[in-house]
């Protein structure tokens, strides 16, 4: 086992807020999830050396520590010296160069021709070698960009919203390809996204960023299952969030929806909100635990899902068949006490 780590601890004053990011990556892939303009890209650019933080340290250890940036010792390696690959949101392929030339551009002058051919083959770009980026589909462009990065042989790969420029149709296949690629990749990778599905699919470890600050970090499954904070719950896609009044150890009253819920865990005094995922409601009978009526609901149909907006402000999502266009909303809905997420501000 080699001793590997990527340390990032940076501060930078931005127009809207101050960016303060501090984490250490020991292996594999880290996902950074956050709304647009929260400082995600700035963090990646600071690691790559494209942007310079005001203060802090960026260092990569592979047996030996390699300091990229250290404000105290006035070290700031140029991006050229960092060996960090960056996949840009728009892929940033050179429009004046062919696929082949793009892939080879990061290699030394007397590089082995086989290396380019190997990358072309690995990314299924055979037959497209002489094409220009404009003549490629979005998915092919992404593969060329990845081939170009991997040909260069980086220690770290940074992925900046890699799927935002693609059609929904292409996304899924490319996500599988990219997950496989990152699993095979021997170095570190950081994926930045505002899409919770992407963060969930790609990374075992996650970091949630809001207005330049880390508001949560840890194991991805754990963060989704138990977000702990209101903002984290919102970013991981919890649709129903309400302020509460604590009634007793196992009962809380929602101030937004006017319903009293039983919860499965003892309510601590720091709990200010609860969250309920829109999929966690089930038809109920009158008088069941945590049940409420559904008068005056409105519904909106999706191909495989109903979105139901209840009069009390709750959202319910239920799965459906594609041929099924009728939904009879049950008179009562309920939620299992263990599916009520206790949150603090």
């Amino acid at each position: 086992m080699t001793n590997k780590s990527l340390k990032v601890n940076i501060q930078k004053k931005l127009k809207e807020f101050d960016l303060e990011v501090d984490f250490e990556l020991k292996k594999g892939c880290l996902g950074i999830l956050g709304p647009s303009g929260c400082g995600k890209s700035m963090t990646l650019k600071s690691i790559a050396g494209i942007e310079t933080p005001d203060r802090g340290i960026v260092s990569l250890t592979i047996d030996e520590e390699n300091i990229y940036f250290d404000s105290n010792n006035k070290i700031n390696l140029k991006p050229q010296k960092r060996n960090v690959g960056y996949l840009f949101q728009n892929y940033a392929l050179f429009p004046n160069m062919t696929v082949e030339e793009n892939v080879a551009i990061g290699l030394a002058k007397n590089h082995d021709e086989k290396r380019v051919a190997e990358m072309i083959k690995r990314f299924h770009l055979e037959g497209l070698e002489k094409r220009y980026p404009r003549q490629l589909s979005g998915g092919q462009q992404q593969r060329v960009a990845l081939a170009r990065i991997l040909a260069y042989g980086p220690d770290v790969i940074l992925l900046d919203e890699p799927f935002s420029a693609l059609d929904a149709f292409l996304k899924e296949q490319l996500r599988i390809e990219l997950v496989n690629l990152l699993n095979d990749f021997d170095g570190f990778s950081i994926l930045v996204t505002h899409d919770r599905d992407e963060a969930f699919q790609f990374c075992d470890e996650m970091l949630i960023l809001d207005e330049g600050k880390i508001i949560a970090k840890g194991d991805t499954y754990e963060l989704f299952a138990n977000p702990k904070k209101v903002q984290v719950a919102r970013l991981t896609g919890c649709k129903n969030i309400s302020r509460i009044e604590i009634i007793d150890d196992f009962h809380v009253k929602s101030l937004e929806w006017g319903i009293t819920f039983e919860v499965s865990e003892k309510v601590q005094s720091n709990i200010t909100h609860i969250g309920i995922r829109a999929h966690d409601f089930y038809p109920a009978d009158k008088g069941d635990v945590n049940s409420f009526d559904t008068l005056n609901s409105e519904k909106l149909e999706r191909p495989f899902e109903w979105d139901v907006s209840l009069a009390n402000g709750l959202w319910w999502k239920c799965d459906k068949e594609i041929h099924d266009h009728e939904l009879v909303i049950p008179e009562y809905l309920k939620v299992n006490p263990k599916n009520i997420i206790l949150l603090e501000k």
């Binding site: 690959g85 728009n90 004046n96 551009i105």
Partner: protein, 224 residues
């Protein structure tokens, strides 16, 4: 009789000055685009653009002030090389370079600013040197704008009159370029002679524009 030396002088002046202006404009635009210090950037941009908005005679006046017999550089050349710049052929080149420079600089700068900055950063993360990024990414992807700047600057240099007359004078066989010849012939009442020079200017200008346009269209089509 048309004086062929006039045509030859004009061609020499326009060719050498576009060569100098092209690279000066290119590197000036690069320096300005890269510059982070906003106040200095604005100041330099103003200085670089000035010859475009000032009357040519005013530019000529300043040039005389610098390159004239008593000017800083003019005097230096006389003292150390015993060479008088004012009213010599090189003066026509200096005047043409200064007057055509803003056109090259501005259209190159505009073209550079259109290039996606991610491309430059991508080049950096792929280990390309700044010099290589400049030529292979920035320059290569701004070619149409750079070429049109070149055309404008060439035409401006070929047609330079005011500043040239001030700094280089109008000496037949030495500093008399085509526009000055047109002026001299008209002043002497030889309209037919002037007309000959006019035809030559139109001819040269047209050929230059045609060649450069052809180059930029061909280059443009290749990627699309």
């Amino acid at each position: 009789m048309m004086d062929w030396s006039t045509i030859f002088i004009s061609m020499k002046t326009a060719s050498l000055s576009i060569f100098i202006t092209f690279f000066l404009g290119l590197f000036a635009a690069w320096a300005i685009v890269k510059m982070k210090n906003e106040p200095i950037k604005i100041l330099l941009d103003g200085v670089f653009t000035l010859p475009l908005v000032l009357p040519p005679t005013v530019v000529g006046f300043f040039l005389l002030y610098i390159f004239g017999v008593r000017g800083v550089i003019g005097k230096f050349f006389i003292d150390f090389f015993a060479y008088k710049i004012a009213f010599s052929w090189p003066a026509t080149v200096i005047a043409a370079v200064v007057m055509s420079f803003p056109l090259m600089y501005r259209s190159t700068r505009g073209a550079f600013e259109q290039v996606d900055s991610n491309l430059l950063d991508a080049g950096r993360t792929l280990g390309m040197s700044e010099w290589k990024i400049f030529w292979k990414v920035l320059f290569a992807n701004s070619l149409p704008g750079v070429i049109s700047g070149g055309i404008l600057a060439y035409a401006r240099g070929l047609g330079e009159f005011g500043a040239t007359a001030m700094l280089a004078g109008n000496i037949a066989g030495q500093t008399r370029t085509l526009p000055l010849a047109v002026y001299s012939e008209v002043a002497a009442g030889n309209m037919a002679e002037a007309f000959n020079y006019v035809i030559v200017i139109i001819f040269i200008a047209f050929i230059a524009i045609f060649i450069m346009d052809y180059l930029s269209i061909r280059k443009d089509k290749q990627w699309k």
